[in-house]
Amino acid sequence: MKSSQRRLVHALTAVFATGVLAGACASADPNAASETTAASFTPQPQDANAKITVWTDSTRLPSVQAYQKANPNVPMDIVTYDGSADGSTYLQTKVQLFDRTGSGWPDAVFASPTDVTWASQPTSPSAQAFAAPVDEGLVPADTLKNFATGSLAPCQYNGHTYCERNDIAQVVLWYNKSLLDQFGYQVPTTWEEYQALGDKVAKEHPGYLVGAIGDTNSHESYFWSAQCPAQQLTDAKTLRSDLRDPHCTKMSGLLDDLIKAGSVSKQGFFGQGFAKDYGSKVLMAYGPSWYGQYLFNSAFKTPAGQIAAAAPLKWQGESQTFTGNVGGGVWMVSSHSKNLKAAAALTTWLTTSDDNLKAAPTYPAYSPGAKAWLANPANKDYFAADVSGPFQQAANEVWTGWGNTKFSDATAWSSIVLPAVTAGRTLTETLPAWQSEIASEAKSVGYTVTTK
């Protein structure tokens, strides 16, 4: 007993002593990391017959399999993973490990836009950025030009394009046309009209909802669309976060008002019980293009022919309309690939070919493909009116002032703002806490933060 006690004490003292001694010596900067300029991209020796490994999520798996079937001579190894859904860091984790061992990277990978922020830069001084700049001979400039305005913004870093956008999730105004007609309301076109209508609904038809803010991405629907500079990248290393900006306070005031009135729910549309309790009472929802199929059709089981979409709302007195974006994936090609050509051919087919895009599960970012998608009756049959106009308009109105940052924007919103709102605080009261959380997060991943 004595000896084991001594041994432990010795071990602990040794650890501390080393530490203290070490601290006393002049020692190097612990933070020597991250100062890595975009390293030039050195391709591996190419082999046109090399097998390409493709990582995809379950949803896009059939597309990849279709490509394999159509091109049986391309040697492919298809791997499924979570597709970076829900803020998963699986891909990033694995690439960190592969960078250490110098092998194992997939050649082409489906990922979230957030992934591009780390993939476009080396993970350590000795590593090479994971994503290959696709604009350097892999994908023709003409093809890249055809992606919806701003949809490639998350792919761009230091003047290069590191991914091809698979789909976008431009925010539009969803409404239940049957209910709206029944109540005798007009579809709002400005935020002010939306607020007025929300107040009116609360009085005339209590229980009906014009929105909900409790989802992990509700802030992207509302605050991004409102052009609130919550996380604006003024350059690659500087983040501006100013939630006192009128665009933010106007939006928080508007939502606080409607929450108080009762026509905007504090819960999330995708909560387990929401569909049961309120699914049939959703008059309007401000949200991404995939709400139509995934929220109203799948989750709420709203019958066909009731739901329609309208163009994004704008602030009264402002000439231009902007909107937000909620999700959407990208395809990246690995800079370590031994068969860049085959990998890029695959990702380009997946993101730009009509064959694939016309039946894609979500709205394609590639404009010609989006036309094919909208022409496909399966994507429109469900709606009460043609959604093509609002979708196409919104696709080109996504505000680029909401930075695609190295940290996920959902963390601060869901773990700081939403619990406070659930506990009874107003959004406006919570803005300072939100801002300081964004600032802390940004600093921890190396951004310089300004709040002006």
Binding site: M1, S4, Q5, L8, V9, A11, L12, V15, T18, G19, V20, A22, G23, A24, C25, S27, A28, D29, P30, N31, A32, A33, S34, D86, G87, S88, T89, Q92, T93, Q96, W118, T123, S124, P125, G214, D215, T216, K266, Q267, G268, F270, G271, Q272, G273, F274, K276, D277, S408, A410, T411, W413, S414, S415, L418, P419, T422, A423, S440, S444, V445
Partner: protein, 308 residues
């Protein structure tokens, strides 16, 4: 299973035992296989982590700076605060209830009831990790939960309210207890079985009631097992990772992705690519765990060979 009932105990030979060197070279031989694994998957990785914690990404020596840096991280203290509250709940639950239940099952329940209960209590033990979190996602959501009346009576009507930041420590302690308790009840029950019947009989003759029996005979006699359980429960508690991590991705993100220190270390390593910072956080956890374990080991004499 009473193979040992034949008395082979020969106290008179005690002196010769010492001279017999108790095993000679066989000891080192017997442990060799395990030592190889221990070195490969325990010691070397730990040493490498220590190396990482005292250097930076270029391999330059940084002294305590990595530690200073992570301690100043805005997520550091909240994460350790969370885990501290969690540990209090978790250790209280696991120690009081597993030992208590094992004693009750051992001494006050008919054998078939006791066996059935042990099995039923154990069922969640099979549902560790991903499965347990998934089940609890449903249990804690008032809209689908079978105990929604209970949640409602506590004033919790939505999933978001249940997941209020102040509740999380307790929730994780409950999940951990739900999956972990059954196994430990089995172990404690087994340990209680090891107490010689004569000892209990003698105590009963002296007029000891069930309470006194438990406090003065049974608990002291399974002390080694309890200490062992506390050390492991404490270590496992400080390392809490899978539950908050999964709850975070599957719960509308209400749980911070760096809720526990281990998550913070993970986030350092794999999101920031900062393995040095991650190692520093892990070493802080290790020191805390060691301090706890050291205290328990020395106080209880867990390592002593000659236990009577």
């Amino acid at each position: 299973m009473t193979a040992l009932d034949t008395p082979v105990v020969v106290p008179a030979r005690r002196a010769t035992v010492r001279r017999a060197r108790e095993g000679g070279l066989s000891g080192p031989l017997f442990v060799s296989g395990y030592v190889v694994l221990l070195l490969a998957f325990g010691v070397l990785p730990t040493l490498y982590a220590v190396y990482l914690a005292f250097t930076n990404v270029r391999g330059q020596f940084t002294g305590l700076n990595q530690f200073l840096r992570v301690i100043q991280d805005y997520r550091f203290w909240p994460a350790f605060g969370n885990i501290l509250v969690y540990l209090v709940f978790w250790l209280l639950l696991i120690v009081v209830l597993t030992v208590g239940v094992a004693i009750v099952l051992r001494s006050r329940m008919p054998a078939p009831v006791s066996a059935a209960l042990r099995f039923l209590y154990y069922i969640p033990g099979a549902l560790a990790g991903v499965a347990s979190v998934l089940v609890w996602l449903f249990m804690l959501d008032p809209s689908v939960s079978p105990v929604n009346w209970l949640l409602n009576s506590l004033g919790l009507t939505t999933f978001a309210e249940v997941l209020a930041p102040g509740h999380l420590s307790l929730i994780f302690a409950l999940i951990a207890f739900w999956t972990g308790a059954g196994g430990w009840i089995v172990v404690m029950y087994g340990a209680l079985n090891n107490i010689p019947q004569e000892v209990l009989e003698a105590a009963r003759m002296d007029g000891a009631g069930p309470w006194r029996m438990a406090l003065h005979i049974q608990i002291p006699m399974i002390r080694k097992w309890i200490v062992y359980m506390v050390i492991l429960a404490f270590a496992a508690g400080t390392q809490l990772f899978v539950e908050p991590q999964l709850l975070q991705t599957a719960s509308l993100g209400r749980v911070s992705p760096t809720w526990s220190p281990n998550q913070l270390a993970y986030s350092y390593a794999f999101q920031h690519g900062d393995f040095n910072g991650a190692a520093a956080i892990s070493l802080v956890l290790l020191v805390i765990g060691l301090a706890g374990a050291g205290l328990l080991v020395t106080r209880s004499g867990l390592f002593k060979v000659d236990e009577s």
